[in-house]
Symmetry: D2
Subunit: 381 residues, 4 copies
């Protein structure tokens, strides 16, 4: 394949991130097929036209089915609201397209499972937009854990917080309706942390959880009415991994001051590794050497020694940004398409993350421990 | 009362901290009765003699019952291993002495309840060594929370970690025996966090917990044998406060790199407050003003504006130390004795903290949600 | 002008940064003329061909004069070694091209002055790659200073450090030859700080400086020889601004552990603002409110409230990266070309920065105070 | 000598710090002669009485000459305003007393030189209150530098800032009068940094300096008048050490937000060490190992591995405070008296620091480079 045609559905936060990444990937990395920005879809059609011009796509449409059907499109990027992911992704796969879908996969596990099944049948490549996995310093952390740099992992803690729903007077939107938006903080933020956690600690076996909707109602804009919020603002869970190790996680979309906090720490028998996304170019590591006068947490700044940072900048410490992670994600996807390997996380891999967040939701609702093995698309809450 | 005689039992870590605090309190604070360092007890007696000389006590003994019986002693400080607290404290109370006991109160809730009952009967004053409560910046944080500086609290997270049991090859001691040492990380570290948490969030209603003994056995010094560790290295709990608010806490004595980590964050409807004991003179606060270009976490350095810092130093930011907290604790106790009010936390107050850590232990053992109301001294696990 | 053709000379660190920025600018910002990547130059020609393919340029050449002469090229990007800047930039200006030149402008002030004169004559637009000026949080800091958020500035301190020449055994290169590379740390790093400082504090009046070549010789690769280093590893200066305010700066290319440190602090009569490039999405501000219990340094995370951050990402705190700054720089340049205004810093603006670093060099050499007014291209050291 | 009698002159900020330290030193450290708090002097006499009671001194007086003459007093602590240091210290030495004098030594170099001469003649021990030298982590840093942990030092930067004179409307006091208070920021803050710097880098050879009185006048309380400020708010200097190495320092008493900033960094050929007093229990060290993926700044928390921290607390990371440093200083002085060695910095040692700050003052006044060798007490500005 000498070039790959991209069809992008959606031009919001993630739509733009996809556009920028596909536009940059060839220049940053010289080793993947050439990308053509072929067809962009948004509604109404004149918005699609305008955004196609801005993002550099050759053509535009107001009908996503045209993207799926277009012979010049090889990859369909699904960046629409979550409730549309399943239909679009399945249609694209059935049309023989590779699918780059944003997270979370879908509103329900049932939908996500259908997507995963469709991918399996199709033989096409898939990837889900867990972009924080693409951070070179995260991959370095995984390598360190795997190589035993902190001994054997014995405990995990993770947090992902933002404050976009912290103000009690933020207006009610469809995001508060479960049937429209699915889970709350878990679906929007928590799943990212699960993706990072699993890479460090392996699969989750069981969860015991508690959730809370801090702001029970929200004002409807332009009226005196307040409407109920149906999904969680905060969720916390105690975790047992398949390895038997313990952990915990917590997520909030109502955490004032946190703009993009994704903090985690892995405790090991010989050290500890910690990370905070708001300082995404830093990793903290403590390694016991037995020299009590000298040991301490070391701050590693990302650099060319942490591939593929060097493809962006030959000098260390100069800082990658949020959008650069998407470019790496796209690079990973293009390599998988070119090379025939699976990308990570494809629909099968990402389904594991969705199972965990839905298990947390279920544990909180039923007030009982839930095994991930119990949770499946065919057995909705 | 023109002067108060101190009897100190124990000269270890906490014994020395008590000695330094009682020795300094009059000079730091001019407003409490004069302290006389009357009688010091340790074993063997010649060690007691030597330590009395070093610490400035008038007399020494090898028999703690002499301290309790001594007419010149008004306050008995109990800084011995935890399993001796109950007997000593009760004896002192029965002898009409005020008691300053180290934390945790005792090995079991039953013992702690007996201590609390004895205090009630005695009419004497008591205080338990939850020294981190004495930190001026913590008291300032409590004031801020109470005054609504971050709105209404909606979530709590807390962590207390050290690494003194992180090395798998650290030798086995009596600390690993439940009948000798009681709980593990919960008893040594977790209870501190509970004391801080309750001051910020109010009483705990229920806990759901998980604990883990990371290092199942430890080597016996001077032999090839390894013996089992009977209490937990790590404990984590999901919490519901009586207010209905959610929270979580976690503690580890096997967390490499953490030397005295006591971190907590209170999420509110209008802001957030965070603290880390390893930077014990700093408080982080975020207050939503609606000015998105300007809002951020503010680091407050402790100073004379946070009483009683100014009694130690008239210049802000110059740093209190760990031992200064004990001096403030002693000051609080002396004021309660002089003024006839209760100190905080007295045996009644501290019993609440012990209930929470034992509820966590019980929840983990039984794998079920435990109400604090269910937990009492008469109903051991 | 409906589209603008780009000619890029050089494909190294900065060449790639230019390519990425010009490739992204239209998608990030919808409000500037469309960019066409027209002609790329490097040597040998087949490298130029390969890089043109990677970066997405339409054509390639091994001869930079072809870029300057090409009628489809409107902007010539000069990212070659510093000693070639003057010849290329002047030729491009004489050919009627706008010029985007990397910093520092040239080896000598005489060259830089010639460039500035050529720009004036040409009527073309110019910009010099002081990319750190493009950081939204830096521009926010400037706005805060200008608006009096910290009162009147009374003092400045700034530092720019890296460690690429910290190892005494790093091999000797042409960079150590003054006639090839010009100044050392001042030319490579110090000039960036000067650009930031001037934006915050206004023009420099005088400097008193000291410089040091820490590693006097370096090993020649593949031989036993060591050759002398002719330019400075470290330079420091005491500054008086035209306002009469004092300041100081220091720069080192031999500062182990610093990967991209550009730290500065502006002291004002009512507060302080601080910044560190290694955490380039954060700004620290202290504002005296008279409430001693509450005041502290506040950490502002860059977000949409700091334009044009929102063009990259609608969510705050998600982090811009190093390459994003170049995209903003390019946007500024395209707006100046489209709108007919001057870009900043154009050759005239950047010449001011060059004067300051050369004044520092001269002050250190002559061991005397140097007025910026004394320093000009026609009066070389 | 079985016990040592203390006579304390002054009960302000430093007077209280001395009282607390002499009161605690025996209990913290078991290895020095017993201290008796013998005689306290302040004015008026009833204040002296009250403070003697609070601080635990046996007797009080309103006349400092009684302290100097008292046969039960072995050590005279001079904590009065700077302009009284010389007369009191010399009188005490002439009376055969050891002298513990606060910093700076005196208003002028001439006075300081007289003190130094008197000490030499007397045969008594002296120490000057450069308490930050007593920080265990600072002494550890010195050891690391001396042992080559960061190779050979090649550069130094240091800063000491507070904000007690940052507000332009802070009232005028005698501190603004040169004849009463001597130097400004240099005398109050800068000399501390010089003491730390010299321990790390060795003696200073030359300085080139600039100073500024930011707030030229201050309001006289209770009137409309403003009076001039005669000494500097800010001072900065370029330094050459006797080793030939370069450095710089800067100090401000008008730096909003800085409460006790004493920051310094030593650049070495193999690493870097940094410190900030506002986090006085932490040290930052970067050591080049050649492993670019792993190297980073390491934060060392003070603990028992950094003597004499363990005398205060057996657990690492629990935090020393400001007053603990004075206790260590007192311990050092008592050891020198008991053992017959010189304490550091005694009057001879501290005179070196005073020379540096006066050289900075003189360099700024004369606008020329000043050699420390030129500066002496007999050659006042």
């Amino acid at each position: 394949m000498t070039s790959i045609g991209i069809g992008l559905i959606g031009t919001g936060f993630m739509g733009k991130a996809h556009a920028l990444a596909y536009r940059s990937v060839n220049a940053v990395f010289g080793d993947v097929p050439e990308v053509r920005l072929e067809l962009l879809c948004d509604q109404p059609a004149d918005k699609a036209d305008a955004m196609a011009r801005q993002f550099g796509f050759a053509r535009a449409t107001g009908d996503w089915r045209e993207v799926v059907a277009d012979p010049a499109v090889h990859i369909v990027c699904v960046t629409t609201p979550n409730k549309m992911h399943a239909e679009m992704a399945v249609a694209a796969l059935e049309a023989g397209k590779h699918v780059h879908c944003e997270k979370p996969m879908a509103l329900t596990l049932e939908e996500a499972s259908r997507m995963e099944a469709a991918a399996k049948v199709s033989g096409c490549k898939t990837i889900v937009g867990y972009n924080y996995l693409a951070n070179p310093i995260y991959q370095h952390a995984r390598k360190l854990v795997r190589e035993g740099a902190i001994g054997k992992p014995v405990h995990f803690r993770g947090f992902v917080d933002e404050d976009y729903q912290a103000d009690p007077e933020t207006a009610w939107t469809w995001r508060a309706i479960r049937a429209e938006a699915g889970l709350g903080a878990l679906g929007d933020l928590g799943c990212h942390l699960v993706s990072l956690m699993q890479g460090l600690m392996g699969p989750v076996a069981t969860v015991v959880a508690d959730v809370d909707t801090v702001h029970k109602t929200r004002p409807v804009e332009g009226s005196d009415e307040r409407r109920p919020v149906e999904n969680e603002d905060i969720a916390s869970a105690l975790i047992r991994f398949e390895s038997g190790t313990t952990g915990l996680l917590s997520t909030s979309r109502s955490a004032w001051g946190r703009k993009s906090r994704i903090g985690w720490e892995v405790h090991g028998t010989a050290g500890m590794i910690c990370f905070e996304q708001e300082r995404m170019n830093e990793l903290q590591i403590y390694q016991n050497t037995g020299n009590k006068a000298a040991d301490g947490f070391r701050t590693i700044l990302t650099g060319p020694a942490h591939p593929p940072y060097g493809n962006f900048c030959p000098a260390p410490g100069h800082q990658l940004g949020f959008n650069d992670l998407k470019t790496i994600e796209v690079w990973n996807f293009l390599k998988s398409i070119a090379g025939g390997d699976r990308a990570y996380p494809d629909f099968e891999g990402a389904l594991e993350f969705e199972k965990v967040i839905h298990a947390i939701d279920r544990s909180a609702a039923r007030k009982e421990l839930i095994s991930i093995g119990q949770v499946s698309g065919g057995n909705p809450k």
